[in-house]
């Protein structure tokens, strides 16, 4: 392996890893907040991709401009999912964990089915002529950095900084942290638990929506597109530690690098082996994940 190929693998792994991190962080946030694993997380991402595609085709704007729209739309989707489904699932008296799993899993199946009905099963791509970044790439000393992934990775880093500021510097962030510490006690200081949960779901969905909006620039879009990404997101969250925002960032990058490296050293068909080996290794040493506190 030459130095150039090695650098290319590291660069590609890093860029993809930052996007994996952004996909995973919303999942981690929601889990940390209320111990619910959202099995419709990937479907949220798929909806964001269609939102971008729709905005590009119907309004005729660049996918970059469509990003805020997708993020806003996904905030509504996330909040609605909580108010319409999860809130009710949490009222179960027995087997509450199971009820939540089936509720969000059912939501995922529903979203996929309705999407296929509305958008058909065709593979969509953001049209090249309306896509400023699409297909463009810059070369640095023989290492190719695709512009969409580069910008996407930058946006992902900014999103993490923004999320960190939101959690540490704002009242909402404090309420979020407090609710996650003890959802019962916050009611005593006048925090409406339900409102925090609603906003938390909106925020979590927005983050994966942003990831979907980035992916839409360089990835094909269809109702089942999110399945492989969602699988990686669950591993990323478990690896970084359930509920940890910083953990999702570090784990996402690690997963991206592990995937790129395994695909080069082993036959590429085995590249997910690298990811799961990494996860198992961490599991043996730190069962709660790298930055988990549970």
């Amino acid at each position: 392996m030459t130095a150039q190929i090695f650098l290319q693998i590291v660069a590609s792994g890093l860029l993809m890893g930052l996007i994996y991190a952004l996909i995973a962080v919303g999942l981690s946030l929601i889990f940390g907040l209320m111990d619910v694993v959202n099995f419709a997380h990937g479907e949220f991402m798929m909806l964001a991709m269609y939102a971008v595609f729709g905005a590009v085709v119907i309004i005729g704007i660049d996918p970059l401009m469509a990003m805020p729209l997708a993020v806003a739309a996904l905030f509504v989707v996330g909040a609605t999912a909580y108010l319409g489904v999860v809130q009710h699932a949490m009222r179960a008296k027995a087997n509450i964990g199971m009820v939540q799993i089936f509720a969000t899993f059912g939501l995922a199946v529903l979203i996929r089915g309705v999407s296929q009905f509305l958008f058909t099963s065709d593979y969509r791509n953001v049209p090249a002529e309306r896509n400023l970044l699409g297909g463009k790439t810059i070369e640095l000393g023989g290492v190719f950095l695709p512009l969409p992934q580069l910008v996407g990775a930058g946006i992902s880093v900014l999103a993490f900084v923004g999320l960190w500021l939101l959690i540490t510097r704002t009242d909402f962030g404090k309420a979020l942290e407090a609710t996650r510490e003890d959802a019962g006690a916050v009611a005593l200081v006048g925090i409406d638990k339900n409102r925090v949960f609603t906003l938390g779901w909106g925020l979590g969905a927005s983050l994966v929506g942003l990831a979907g909006a980035i992916l839409a620039i360089f990835y094909y879009i269809h109702p089942d597109v999110a399945a492989p990404f969602a699988l990686i997101a669950y591993v990323t969250v478990a690896l970084g530690g359930f509920g940890s925002v910083f953990g999702a960032l570090v784990a996402g990058i690690m997963v991206g690098l592990a995937e790129a490296l395994t695909a080069t050293i082993l036959p590429p068909a085995l590249k997910s082996v690298g990811i799961y080996a990494l996860y198992l290794g961490v599991l043996f040493i730190r069962p709660k994940g790298l930055f988990g506190s549970l």
Partner: protein, 417 residues
């Protein structure tokens, strides 16, 4: 204890049931089960297949004297008193286990007469096993793995070519280029990790060895990967004279997009169809790989010689907005061939249809394909299904090989860089 009245009632009911049973011998309707991915990553293929079958059903069930096809002239199946064909769809999502369960359901619950499917070869493997167990004929429309007809199944039939036939013509083409003085020495194999990609690569690896080509890359990748960067990186480093991909639509699109992103321009692409013959692939990334070549079972160029091909294509296009392609043409033909055999069998009995299929003998001119004829060998394979090679040039597929079918000279290498 049964009272006399209950007994009488039961006997009457039994008599009615028996007489309905007797009447059912000349059915109004013949059900055929179609197994396709209607949801999941390959849903688009399944939904296009549905349109292809609807076109075939229209031709079978209604009179189309303008078409020179089996069952085109008369409405319904004359051999079964004009019975109509009805297709019952089942969704296997590309999963061999779901395919097995759905095949079982179609046979036992829906009581279908025969099965057709399945796009993914991995699913055809389980579906055909199930069909064999129940003695129901399975006609493989669009599966190309050669291993499928080598399992000694009596109820398995395939009218179209398999990947050994497809790969042989690909290598014949490369040999002919070499004779013309082109530099074709190194090959790169790139294939997905299910039975389709694996079988295809096995054949290609063997042929490359026999005919003296050097493999500079042999990459098996995970189907539906989120990223193919590392894989394309290896292809780029190898920079073979010809890239031979065996990929379904999602991976084909991602492969070409990633090639663009990593600045890799292959000297030539010779694809094992699948994703590379799909309109969605061409719409998404066709321009980036102008002049790529794919094998095919079907060519619209045939319409110049055979007007029926053009007419069927118009019928299909009116429903789907797309031209017939490698997959939809094979699916259309498969249902027609199945119906033709049922008509000749004059029965919905599995064993009788099997016999009818085994004695099929239809000249190529009575199909929409470039085949010599349709007739199944002992294995269930039609060995006269001659494939063609198509080049994507200026927004269209043109037949470039074999010479007797070609309408254009191949552009080689694909890019002049």
């Amino acid at each position: 204890m049964l009272s006399r009245r209950e007994f009488a009632g039961g006997a009457a009911a039994l008599a009615t049931a028996l007489s309905t049973g007797a009447r059912a011998q000349a059915p109004q309707e013949v059900k055929i089960g179609a197994l396709y991915p209607l949801s999941g990553a390959s849903a688009q293929i399944g939904n296009d297949a549905k349109t292809a079958f609807e076109t075939a059903v229209d031709i079978i069930n209604n009179a189309h004297p303008e078409l020179d096809l089996p069952l085109g002239k008369e409405p319904g199946l004359p051999g079964l008193g004009g019975a109509k064909i009805r297709v019952i769809y089942a969704d296997h999502q590309g999963d061999p286990q779901k395919g097995r369960a759905e095949a079982e359901r179609l046979i036992t619950q829906e009581k279908v007469t025969a099965l057709v499917g399945t796009y993914q070869s991995a699913v055809a493997a389980t579906v055909s096993q199930t069909a064999e167990r129940y003695g129901v004929p399975f006609l493989s429309a669009d599966n190309s793995s050669p291993s499928l007809h080598r399992r000694g199944l009596k109820y398995f039939f395939r009218a179209a070519a398999h990947d050994e036939m497809f790969s042989a013509i690909m290598f014949d083409f490369l040999d002919s280029l070499k004779k013309k003085g082109q530099k074709v020495e190194t090959l790169a194999l790139f294939y997905e990790d299910t039975i389709f990609g694996t079988d295809s690569s096995n054949v290609q690896r063997k042929l490359a060895g026999e005919r003296g080509y050097k493999l500079v890359a042999d990459i098996k990748y995970r189907a539906n990967s989120p990223s193919l960067t590392a894989e394309v990186q290896q292809l780029k480093a190898a920079n073979a004279d010809v890239l031979l991909p065996s990929s379904y639509t999602t991976d084909s699109i991602l492969l070409v997009k990633t090639m663009g992103e990593l600045g890799y321009k292959p000297k030539a692409i010779l694809a094992q169809a699948a994703g590379f013959s799909e309109q969605t692939f061409v719409d998404a990334v066709g321009k980036q790989v102008e002049n790529y070549i794919t094998r095919g079972s079907f060519s619209l160029d045939l319409a110049r010689k055979r007007p029926t091909v053009g007419k069927v294509n118009e019928m299909f296009k009116a429903k789907s907005g797309r031209d017939l392609n490698d997959n939809t043409a094979r699916e259309f033909m498969a249902l027609l061939l199945l119906a033709e055999a049922i008509d000749r069998a004059k029965s919905t009995d599995g064993a009788k249809i099997r016999e009818a299929l085994a004695t099929t003998n239809i000249p190529g001119e009575k199909t929409i394909m470039p085949w010599k004829k349709v007739g199944y060998a002992e294995t269930g394979q039609n060995n006269d299904a001659d494939p063609v090679l198509l080049q994507y040039t200026g927004g269209k597929f043109l037949t470039i090989f074999p010479e007797q079918a070609a309408v254009a000279e191949a552009v080689w290498p694909m890019s002049k860089s």
